[in-house]
Amino acid sequence: MADPLLEVSDLRVRFRSRGSVVHAVQGIDFTVEPGQTLAIIGESGSGKTVSAYAVMGLLPPTAQVSGSIRFKGVEIVGLGERELQDHRGRNAAMVFQNPERSLNPTMKVGAQITEAVRRHLPLSRPQAHERAVELLRMVRIPAPERRFHEYPHQLSGGMRQRVIIAIALACEPALLIADEATTALDVTTQAQIMNLLLDLQQELGTAMLMISHDLALAASYAEEVMVMYAGRIVERAGAADLFGNVRMPYTRALLDAIPRTDLEPHVLLPVIGGRPPDLSTVLPGCAFAPRCPDAQADCREQAPALEQHEMGHWSACWHPCGKEAAS
């Protein structure tokens, strides 16, 4: 098997704010192979976005990052700002959540793409222009020549997101990170954009890290799914395996909470009681224990490690859901 594109080992990210420390990411390990699609699922505060930013090198200097992030064998953690600027956009690129706000309103769309192109590639202005138009065409924006000269507010939300994808792919990065890229879009556009992303992935051989809170979306589009909770990875498996063979009670609860059309009407939707933990204190036991319906004494005492209990399926739970309990 080829060398992994991205290797994250024991990544920890801490933020200091006004005397208190927030442990956003508490030691995670994962790898991404070239061309693979990995989804990171979690609720707000689970650390999924912070991890993505760490991989991009976008965290502010106030963030304390420890551990290792190796991109094509090169260590990202501890790099200087200059090197990080070279890394961003060239090796890894990001697509953000809000297409309305992610583009500069006073700058032409084409200029925003050529800016990305010329940052890393030694192209002249006409060449960059050509490349930008080509990118617009690649993300399936009609009349790309015309759109080049337009401003973001003249485009619809879906088109703006395509432009952002075009910007991200401008320098053909090996890794594309989609941070809730479709959350702000309507369902139809969501499907279009996801399909576009997958097609582009195939075409360019880009690996994709899909960050979302939407488990159903991950199921449809990702090869592997990783579930994060309170800064730790709690389960990781191939998409089909995860859904057919759930281990972690948290993941199971997430699955149960997906609205389904085959349920009886007026049935209460199962929700997860309680709220996500406060990340300024690190509790000794499993972070999900306070909310877990299957929690036992040992869950509160010691945090379970992420282990590959079955082939290709990691989970971190003392009392995983058995095959009998799987929905």
Binding site: R16, G19, T49, V50, L58, L59, P60, P61, T62, D179
Partner: protein, 296 residues
């Protein structure tokens, strides 16, 4: 996720975590210091201008013997020296300060009350009332206020009261503008809309909902505006259009200081320092409060 997204990537740059913690604690302390120290200085100044002369025999600012004329700084009995006709400068600073504060307070109070009322009414009523009021205010704002002020004072004659009227013509439109903008914003807030829909009387909505929410903004605006009013007033006194001689005023003292600039600097520097110091303290307190209360 939008705001956290942005703030995640761009924080305050800082290398040393331990120092950050120390610094954040000191920063909290500093922020209060930013308000309390200038505030205390202002209070001390107010005390000396208003209360001190009542308990201590401060020489009269407009009476003096020519024999004591033009004494320099630190002369015995006259800490700040004397003017060319023997008036004690320290007394002139104190009494001049009194005038400054009186005028500033009066002007800002008038501005707050009248301007605030106009602005809130304009903003709340909308329609013709607002349009007319706004056009009138526009006229005042387009008007070089100094012209109006000078004209009024020149025409009515110099006196503290006339200066107050004249400066109010400047303060009222400014407050009205801010009040109107704030009212417009508040008017469409859910809690106000709810009150309106429940047929609560307009004046009750205004007094109970709008005014209390507007107060921090108006107050800090007035506080910051006080510095401007003081500066304007000193300008008037300097030009000879403000407080009439021989009554003391800082601007007037600065004007005198200009005439003797080539010979002695203290008659110029002392009132200038007081003027500067007062405005700086006012601005610091106003700024500090604005940050504290999170006002725009």
């Amino acid at each position: 996720m939008a705001a956290p997204v942005a703030s995640l990537a761009l924080g305050v740059p800082d290398a040393d975590p331990a120092a950050t913690q120390r610094r954040s604690r000191t920063r909290g302390l500093l922020r209060t210091l930013e308000i309390t120290v200038p505030g205390a200085i202002l209070l001390v100044l107010l005390f000396f201008c208003f209360i001190w002369p009542l308990v201590y025999p401060v020489p009269s600012p407009t009476y003096g013997s020519v024999l004591d004329a033009s004494l320099p700084l630190w002369s015995p009995g006259h800490i700040f020296g004397t003017t060319n006709v023997g008036y004690d400068n320290m007394a002139r600073i104190l009494y001049g300060g009194r005038t400054t504060f009186e005028v500033a307070a009066a002007v800002q109070v008038i501005g707050l009350v009248v301007g605030g009322l106009l602005g809130v009414v304009a903003g709340y009523a909308g329609g013709i009332v607002e349009a007319v009021l706004m056009r009138v205010l526009d006229i005042f704002i387009a008007f070089p206020s100094l012209v109006l002020i000078l004209a009024i004072v020149d025409g009515l004659g110099q006196s503290e009261l006339h200066v107050i009227w004249a400066l109010s013509a400047f303060s009222i439109p400014a407050v009205a503008r801010v009040a109107r903008a704030g009212t417009l914003r508040l008017r469409d807030q859910p809690f106000v809309v709810a009150a309106r829909l429940s047929s609560v009387k307009a004046w009750r909505i205004i007094s109970g909902h709008i005014v209390p929410n507007l107060m921090p903004q108006l107050f800090t605006f007035s506080l910051l505006g006080t510095g401007i009013v003081i500066i304007l007033e000193s300008g008037l006194d300097f030009l000879g259009y403000g407080i009439p001689d021989p009554a003391p005023s800082w601007g007037g003292m600065i004007a005198y200081g200009q005439t003797v600039m080539s010979v002695a600097l203290s008659p110029l520097v002392v009132p200038s320092l007081f003027l500067f110091g007062t405005v700086v303290c006012l601005n610091l307190v106003g700024d500090g409060l604005r940050n504290r209360w999170g006002v725009r």
